[in-house]
């Protein structure tokens, strides 16, 4: 086996295990595994994975045994909701995801059983010959067989048909059945029909195959019925085509005129299929309807497939067991994605039609076909995800989960800590999309652990913990001399120069006995040199990967400030560092004597030579100096809510029920149903009966509340009374999770309770209130992060040698800029045009240095007015965007072009073929060439040129910005000769030309309507927590149109969105 295939196999297996395999990749994996050698290797690899997992799983038999007990005890509430949730999830998440449990299998068997019964019944038809000429086999050919009892006749036309007759079209062309009223059915080969009733009711059973029907209007109460094993079609008068696949137990009906009712035999469900629609019955008995293929679009694109594919993958031959002619042509049809994504891959990489085939399509035709498939696949995916069930569950993201706990109980929970919740999967950057979220048993246990931990803080039981209060000063932080006078040492301070830390970049640690919230206090002075920036205190925990404190300190030497932060700390050893996070050279690191502990007292006295470098002779600081006295950890803080949660009353089961129900109402964000109240208070009652204290019993029930799906997910809709719009409670939650990333507050709940969230004006009033609240900052940060993929900034850390300016502070600042930008856009209600181009942006000291903007000295983000020579403005020229589209050493015009396409134009380019090469780096002895020049060479390859002609120019426009977003006019590259100059000019596919990023942005602005639609779609995806489907397009257009006169202002758009029907739609 080649090394490449082995590596690819490993990558795909990893993706599979992580549940992030794409459709195309899943086909690729399946194809690889067809090879028995590969399958054997995969088996060995998986076995090894299992062994390693086990060997690393430090086992403690006693702990494990008690785990079993807990599990048994938790079985009642945890396992039950897991099953419910998984069941629900299995219907919405991708079918190839390993999290999906098979629940539908049983249904499918049920359908098959029905089919068997049907076949058995059909084999012994009751022959009630009534000798009526009302139905005839009007036309037959050599392929037509008529069965009457056990006798058969072949190829005879004009035969009067009797009840019990069976007509089979086994080969030949077609046969036609004609009723007296002129209705006729055409049977295509492979079709079998049994006559069950002729008059007055017409009833035929279709065991398999396809019939085209043209049915005259039928008498009232006596429609024509077509029965299949799993489907029943009721026809009043129409033209349609019905196809039944007996083996797969599926059926499909294409209606040309009139109206047809399609019913599922196994579920009793019915749908009406109108003209131009297709009705489909799946193997599990579920029904869907979707628009029929756009005949005009297919007429344009269909011949490509007919001419190039069908000869090997059609009726006659099915090479590789693949048939394209039967693949559905409608993006809404079930089973659309699989065959077409396979075809797309083969067509784009030039594998199909095979190169040895003489007749080859042109590159333009290939591209057109690839684009059509890509568009349809995108629609199909969105449609699949947007299809709403009776009840939709949209799990809270882990940030929302933590926010909700904070707003509900006043406690801090850090889901990203080790042992916390896994990172949420995202859909085009959006983390909160219901249908792509997953829930595995491992999740449930983490939720359970989190609920227990949180409730331990809120309702502490048992002895109060011994509080920790640990103060670390000079001696503990910088170490050394122990022989000094303790009094003197207690006055020693720590001086930290820019880019310096308390302990020469190695971490300190604190031991936390009990998890909980702790107050961190730092006593510190900060001296700013004349005209310079204030020192920046940065306290960072390396073991938790979390910044505890980051702020400028500007206080005199003799008046230290006490900076505090309240943070959640898990048990164990916590490593942290204290920096003066500004660029500079730490004199201690370069001191000839090497770094060592040096007590510091004041700048105004004699100091060590290193310390002297910090000030001039008049003791005026030369650099921003941080002077630290101590850091102190105190906690766990008392977060007990016993007084609030446990109201006064008789400490019995009835009172427990009151408390638990009231808590559940807030946690579930809606009134609690009687059966839920009974189940939850049952937990408390059981605990009380076992002799637990009242507090413990309430606590047990509250843990159950926090593990319920109604808390963990936004539940919309009702299984009993299906409805298309949200109720008031659901609107309240949608609104608060949109704008606050958390639960509604009391005022919003009050509105919901009073039924005052139905009218657009009411929703608008609440929206204004929510936006004015400080919690709206969560919308700013979360939306910016997800929309602009800020998670990806720093994913490929730039090479420090090539980009010395890039460090952690820079990365942090890069991520801050778009967030601060969106904040200002929102607060100023600015036009979306300013997302594309503006004469301002938000910078702090590192960014200003990167952009070459003078006079910005602090770490705080501040608004600056831009001049043309700054070459900035809008989002596209922000460092966060420019660097996330680079690979750490080089900028990537293709990625930049793709980002512009997706973010501004709302299009997805077809994925690159798997065999697409990388752009080679230049060797030292070759002439220097820009990435653009190399890409141009790459495009000589005709199969690449088509797509790249559309994508690349959009990226070339930003060639004046390097891999971390610095402005440049020449591209610094390896090789011989001068560095080549940058060429940022280009031409859009429609022929409009631009010379650089500025004129390119102007072209984008001229198409602002389009961007407004794309942006609104993203905003709505975020707010509604689902991808938008084809049916949502008009609603988006209406929202956009309503804000056009104002120039598409951000706040206007939000307000228009929340007042729209779309927002209240499920």
């Amino acid at each position: 086996m080649s090394v490449d295939r082995r590596e690819r196999l490993v990558q795909l297996l990893d993706l599979y295990r992580d549940g992030s395999l794409s459709v195309a990749e899943s086909h690729e994996l399946a194809a690889l595994l067809d090879d028995p050698q590969v399958a054997a290797l995969a088996t060995t690899l998986l076995e090894t994975d299992g062994l390693i997992a086990l060997a690393l799983d430090a086992e403690d038999a006693h702990a494990a045994a008690s785990q079993w007990r807990q599990r048994l005890a938790a079985d009642d509430h945890a396992a039950r909701f897991r099953d419910e949730f998984t069941k629900r999830q299995s219907e919405t998440i991708a079918p190839w995801s390993p999290q999906r449990r098979s629940g539908r299998r049983a249904l499918r068997w049920a359908a098959a059983a029905l089919l068997l019964i049907a076949i058995a019944a059909g084999a012994f038809p009751l022959i009630l010959a009534t000798l009526t000429p009302d139905l005839a086999l009007a036309r037959a050919d050599a392929g037509t067989v008529l069965w009457r009892g056990t006798t058969k006749q072949a190829g005879r036309s004009n035969v009067t048909l009797l009840i019990g007759d069976r007509v089979e079209q086994v080969g030949g062309a077609t046969a036609e059945l004609r009723f007296a009223d002129g209705s006729h059915l055409t049977l295509i080969p492979g079709t079998s029909v049994t006559v069950q009733s002729i008059t007055p009711a017409k009833r035929l059973r279709l065991t398999g195959g396809t019939i085209n029907a043209s049915v005259s209007p039928q008498p009232d109460g006596h429609p024509l019925r077509l029965l299949a094993a799993t489907a029943e079609v009721v026809v009043i008068g129409t033209e349609f085509k019905l196809t039944v696949d007996a083996q797969a137990a599926t059926a499909r009906i294409d209606v040309d005129h009139g109206l047809v009712r399609l019913a599922s035999v196994s579920t009793g469900e019915q749908v009406e299929v109108a003209a131009g629609q297709v009705g489909s019955l799946a193997a599990d008995g579920s029904l869907t309807t979707f628009p029929g293929a756009n005949a005009k679009a297919w007429a344009a694109i269909g011949p490509f497939f007919e001419n190039n594919c069908y000869s090997c993958h059609g009726e006659k031959k099915q090479k590789g067991k693949f048939r394209l002619d039967q693949a559905p042509r409608e993006s809404g049809a079930p089973g659309f994605e699989q065959p077409w994504s396979m075809a797309l891959e083969r067509i784009t990489n030039g594998e199909m039609p095979p190169p040895e085939e003489k007749q080859q399509p042109t590159q333009a035709a290939r591209l057109q076909a690839a684009e059509w498939i890509t568009d349809q696949l995108k629609l199909a995916e969105a449609q699949r995800l947007a299809t709403s069930e009776k009840v939709s569950l949209r799990k809270l993201t882990r940030e929302e989960y933590a926010n909700t706990l904070r707003d509900l109980l006043g406690v801090t929970y850090e889901p990203a800590d080790p042992g916390g919740l896994p990172e949420d999967p995202n859909w085009h950057g959006f983390e909160r999309i219901g249908p792509v979220q997953t829930l595995s048993p491992a999740h449930i246990e983490r939720y359970l652990a989190a609920a227990e931990m949180v409730m331990d803080e809120v309702l502490p039981t048992g002895a109060a913990p011994k509080p920790l209060k640990q103060r670390m000063g000079m001696q503990q932080l910088r170490g050394g001399p122990n022989d000094h006078d303790p009094f003197i040492m207690s006055h020693a301070r720590i001086d930290i120069a820019p880019n310096g830390s308390t302990n020469f970049k190695s971490p300190h640690s604190v031991w936390i006995e009990r998890p909980g919230e702790y107050r961190i206090s730092v006593s510190v002075s900060g001296l700013r040199p004349p005209g310079g920036s204030a020192p920046h205190l940065y306290v960072y925990s390396a073991s938790l990967d979390r910044v505890w404190i980051a702020r400028d300190i500007d206080t005199p030497e003799n008046k230290p400030e006490i900076v505090t932060a309240e943070v959640f700390l898990p048990a164990g050893e916590i490593a942290f560092m204290i920096y003066n996070a500004l660029p500079g050279i730490d004199p201690y690191e370069n001191a000839a004597s090497g770094p060592g502990p040096r007590p510091f007292f004041t700048l105004k006295r004699e100091r060590s030579p290193t310390q002297q470098k910090l000030t001039d002779d008049d003791y005026v600081p030369l650099v921003p100096i941080l002077i630290l006295d101590y850091i102190e950890f105190a906690g766990p803080l008392d977060r007990s809510r016993a007084g609030q949660l446990i109201t006064a009353g008789k400490r019995d089961a009835a009172h427990a029920r009151q408390i638990v129900t009231a808590f559940a109402e807030r946690a579930f964000r809606r009134p609690v149903r009687a059966e839920d109240a009974a189940r939850l208070s049952g937990v408390a009652e059981k605990s009380l009966a076992k002799g637990a204290s009242f507090e413990q019993a309430v606590k047990d029930a509250c843990i159950a509340v926090l593990c319920a799906q109604d808390f963990l997910a936004l539940v919309e809709g009702s299984a009993l009374k299906p409805r298309a719009t949200l109720d008031d409670w659901e609107v309240a939650s949608r609104l608060s999770y949109f704008l606050w990333s958390s639960m509604p507050d009391d005022a919003l709940f009050a509105r919901a309770r009073a039924g005052q969230l139905t009218k657009p004006a009411d929703i608008l009033a609440e929206t204004k209130r929510l936006l004015a609240d400080p919690k709206a900052e969560r919308f700013v940060a979360d939306f910016a992060r997800q929309w602009l993929h800020l998670r990806d900034v720093g994913k490929f850390p730039p090479n420090r040698k090539l980009f010395p300016l890039y460090d952690e502070q820079m990365e942090f600042s890069m991520k801050q800029e778009p967030v601060a930008y969106v904040r200002d856009m929102l607060r100023g209600n600015r036009s979306l045009r300013e997302f594309i181009a503006s004469d301002w942006t938000m910078v702090n000291a590192p960014l200003a240095r990167l952009y070459g903007i003078p006079g910005i000295v602090d770490m705080k983000m501040q608004k600056v007015t831009l001049k043309p020579e700054d070459h900035r403005g809008g989002l596209l020229t922000q460092a966060a965007i420019l660097s996330q589209t680079s690979d750490g050493t080089r900028h990537k015009p293709i990625n930049r072009g793709k980002l512009v396409m997706e973010m501004i134009l709302g299009k997805s380019p077809p994925p690159p073929p798997p065999n697409a090469g990388d752009i080679p780096t230049t060797q030292a002895n070759q002439p220097k060439a820009t990435v653009r020049q190399k890409l141009t060479a790459h495009r000589q390859n005709e199969s690449c040129a088509g797509c790249h002609a559309k994508i690349d120019p959009l990226g070339f426009a930003f060639d004046n910005y390097d891999a971390i977003g610095q402005w440049r006019t020449v591209e610094v590259v390896a090789g011989t000769g001068d560095n080549p100059p940058v060429d940022a000019s280009g031409e859009l596919p429609d022929g409009r030309r631009f010379t650089d990023a500025i004129s390119f942005k102007q072209l984008l602005i001229s198409d602002l309507d389009r961007f407004a639609e794309v942006f609104t779609e993203k905003l709505a995806t975020y707010a509604l927590r689902r991808p938008l489907g084809a049916t949502d397009r008009d609603a988006v257009k209406a929202i956009v149109a309503g804000t056009k006169t104002g120039g598409y202002r951000l706040k206007d758009l939000i307000e228009a969105l929340v007042q729209s029907d779309l927002f209240r739609k499920r």
């Binding site: 490993v10 090894t48 299992g50 690393l56 086992e59 494990a64 079993w68 896994p422 990967d545």
Partner: protein, 204 residues
């Protein structure tokens, strides 16, 4: 080979044997059954994890099997030893798990899962399957000890904490594919080391 703990304890006369524990458990004593769980679970986890390829899933399966056994204890034939009975439950659970996974519609791994289930079924009829796995596991533990801290951290992140390759890539600031490759190299090394140790064991 793992010595059956019950025998050891009987010899020392300290602990009740399996049958006695089952007797007590049947009387409603969950602690007694907890003792049975403790005696058998690590062996079962080894057995299951080898085929399920995920410690989380393996733990789930074993725990579920014990819950099933506890609930079905009434139907247990007390004249027979409890170990094989528990193991059969556990195996059935595992095979069911693999079969279910194989049946997921359009699962690219259906063939592999079928194959793993088939192997598990074969193992059911082999007497030494557990000991074989135990030996491999012992060899592997030894090989793991020879890794440096960084390599161990990576394996721990992936296989014990169950981080996705994407997450590891983000944390270590590498490309997901290079994380996959690094893991593969580690795995290759471990497989070689394990094979060397095992062959060393058999050829004195």
């Amino acid at each position: 080979m793992v010595t059956a703990p019950s025998t050891v304890m009987m010899e020392h006369g300290m602990e009740p044997d399996d049958a006695e524990l089952v007797e007590r458990a049947l009387g409603g004593n969950a602690d007694a059954f907890g003792e049975v769980v403790m005696r058998y679970q690590s062996r079962f986890r080894v057995m299951v994890a080898r085929q399920v390829a995920s410690a989380d899933d393996a733990n789930d399966i074993v725990q579920d099997a014990f819950i099933e056994a506890w609930r079905g204890l009434g139907s247990f034939d007390r004249s027979r030893p409890v170990g094989p009975w528990l193991r059969a439950i556990c195996r059935h659970r595992m095979i069911k798990h693999l079969r279910e996974r194989a049946r997921l519609p359009a699962s690219p791994m259906a063939a592999i899962d079928e194959r793993l289930a088939g192997l598990a079924e074969q193992d059911m009829h082999k007497d030494h399957a557990d000991e074989d796995t135990d030996r491999r596991l012992t060899a592997l533990r030894h090989c793991l000890e020879q890794l440096d801290a960084r390599q161990r951290a990576m394996l721990t992140a992936r296989y014990r904490d169950g981080l996705a390759v994407q997450e590891i890539a983000a944390r270590t600031k590498r490309l997901p594919n290079s994380v996959s490759m690094a893991l593969l190299r580690l795995k290759d090394g471990l497989m070689r080391c394990m094979a060397a140790r095992l062959s060393g064991e058999t050829t004195p």
